[in-house]
């Protein structure tokens, strides 16, 4: 029993109880360190002997490229954009995540419906409509929200790219003509939107203002427990009892 379930209406043709793997979601704004942490987590899990699959936004075969183009052009309304992102999300959910979970893999998702809901909601799209839209999504086994202050976000963004990103500064919202001012207001609104989802959907907050090592240590402790609960103990390094070998010898 893996105990998987959908938020609402199930996906047609998918039975949740056959999804054996673990779905772990890492959420957080840009520059919160998500991809670094996911890379390290993936390596660590594979070293333990777990198969790992990954997903992220705009990576679907179906509309990934088109979505990237739409993002550059900024010609779609928030609702159309939300539906386009939902298409991308469900394509990956059905064609990548579900098969991986059926096979018993650990899926590490670099953002999930929460970012998609938060971003659309602060652009004026109705919360209830968004939640109904994503009611066919699988409930993750755990969701970690990498939380950082605006000051840290600014430093990390400038360290990585020496420039602000149009969307992550919320420039499409017309908050301010000044990119930096807009960035601060936008990130504040985004944090509020995430906080609303945090309590509603049980996101676990992780203080990502710390060093990479410290955050990774924290995540491994939490993720390790979830994965072990879902899939059983690992057989890789650090697992001293050699259970798998013993079984084989006895057969």
């Amino acid at each position: 029993m893996s105990g998987k379930r959908f938020f609402g209406t199930p996906l047609p043709g998918v039975s949740a109880d056959r999804l054996l793997g673990a779905l772990i979601v890492i959420e957080g704004p840009d520059s919160s360190g998500r991809s670094t942490q996911i890379g390290l987590l993936g390596q660590w899990l594979e070293q333990q002997g777990y198969a790992v699959a990954q997903m992220g936004l705009r990576r679907s075969q179906l509309v990934g490229a088109e979505l990237e183009a739409a993002k550059q052009g900024n010609v779609l309304s928030p609702r159309t954009m939300a539906l386009f992102y939902a298409t991308d999300f469900f394509d990956q959910l059905e064609n990548r995540i579900v098969p991986a979970l059926r096979a018993g893999s650990v899926v590490l998702a670099d953002r999930y419906i929460f970012t998609l809901i938060a971003r659309a909601a602060i652009r004026g799209v109705d919360h209830e409509w968004l939640e109904a839209l994503y009611s066919k999504a699988l409930v993750p086994d755990a969701t970690y929200f990498l939380s950082v202050t605006s000051a840290v976000l600014v430093e990390r963004t400038f360290a990585a790219r020496a420039a602000l990103d149009y969307w992550e500064s919320g420039m499409d919202l017309g908050l301010s003509r000044d990119w930096f001012d807009s960035f601060l207001v936008y990130q504040r609104r985004l944090r509020a939107a995430y906080r609303r989802l945090e309590s509603r959907f049980g996101l676990e907050r992780v203080n990502a203002g710390r060093s990479i090592r410290a955050v990774q240590h924290d995540l491994r402790t939490r993720v390790g427990a979830v994965v072990e609960r879902t899939l059983g103990p690992a057989s890789g390094p650090g697992d001293g009892n050699g259970g798998a070998e013993g079984e084989r010898a006895g057969a």
């Binding site: 609402g8 209406t9 043709g13 075969q61 159309t80 539906l83 298409t87 469900f90 409509w129």
Partner: protein, 239 residues
């Protein structure tokens, strides 16, 4: 959960419906029912009367077209993504064209509307309440014409005229039958059953599509003239 989604759909609909000066007319029906011909003739008539009128067609937003084409060609689409990609297309046309035109006081004609999704996607296995919520932002048409045709007649019109059916058109993704034509028949039958239910739920005006084209059109025009105050939609500029 389904009841909850239905409530959400109702609320979303109530919140999203601003009063508009224009009027919305949609046509629905099976492939081969002649609805596109009828709405074309209606369009010409309204233009001839000097009305402010605009036309929008299902699955025609440029931005989403490429992705849809690719998805269909490579058979990448699942019931959910099939539904979502069409909803994306619809939302794009709705917010860019349909709603602005309605606000500007136009008569907007739609060749297929959300009901096409309610019928087809439901047959593909999507939840009915989920679909109604998905399209909850869209205004209900003032008139929806449903062109009803006996199944065999509709099938004949399509199968006679076209040697090769397309994969999704024939509902091959549903795995109803390995035979393209057989699958098409079963799919169309199921879609028709959905339309018959929707006709009651949404108050469609049903037109007997076995009648002569000009007879149907006469009826369509009479109903439009009766329900919409057409004098109200004449161009202000004057000709």
């Amino acid at each position: 959960m389904t009841a909850e989604t239905a409530t959400l759909a109702r609320r979303a609909r109530a919140a999203a419906h601003p009063p508009v000066a224009g009027r919305l007319v949609a046509v629905e029906g099976l492939d081969g029912s002649g609805k596109s011909t009828q709405i074309h003739l209606l369009h010409q008539w309204l233009l001839g009367l000097g009305c402010k009128v605009s036309f929008s067609e299902w699955n025609s937003s440029l931005l989403v077209k490429e992705a849809t084409k690719k998805g269909k060609k490579r058979q990448l689409l699942t019931p959910t993504t099939f539904s979502l990609i069409h909803a994306t297309d619809f939302a794009d046309r709705y917010e860019r064209q349909i709603l602005p035109m309605l606000k500007a006081g136009y008569v907007v004609l739609c060749d297929r509307y959300s009901f096409t999704a309610f019928a087809r996607d439901r047959v593909r296995g999507c939840d009915g309440a989920w679909l109604r919520s998905l399209y909850g932002f869209a205004l209900r048409p003032d008139i929806t014409f449903y062109f009803r045709l006996p199944l065999e007649t509709a099938l004949g019109r399509i199968l006679d005229g076209r040697p090769q059916l397309k994969y999704f058109e024939a509902g091959m993704d549903l795995g109803l039958s390995a035979d393209l034509q057989q699958s098409f028949r079963m799919f169309q039958r199921a879609v028709m059953e959905q339309y018959e239910q929707l006709a009651g739920e949404f108050g469609f005006v049903t037109i007997d599509a076995t009648r002569a084209i000009h007879e149907q059109q006469e009826l369509v025009r009479a109903i439009v003239a009766e329900r919409l105050d057409l004098a109200h939609f004449h161009h202000q500029g004057g000709a």
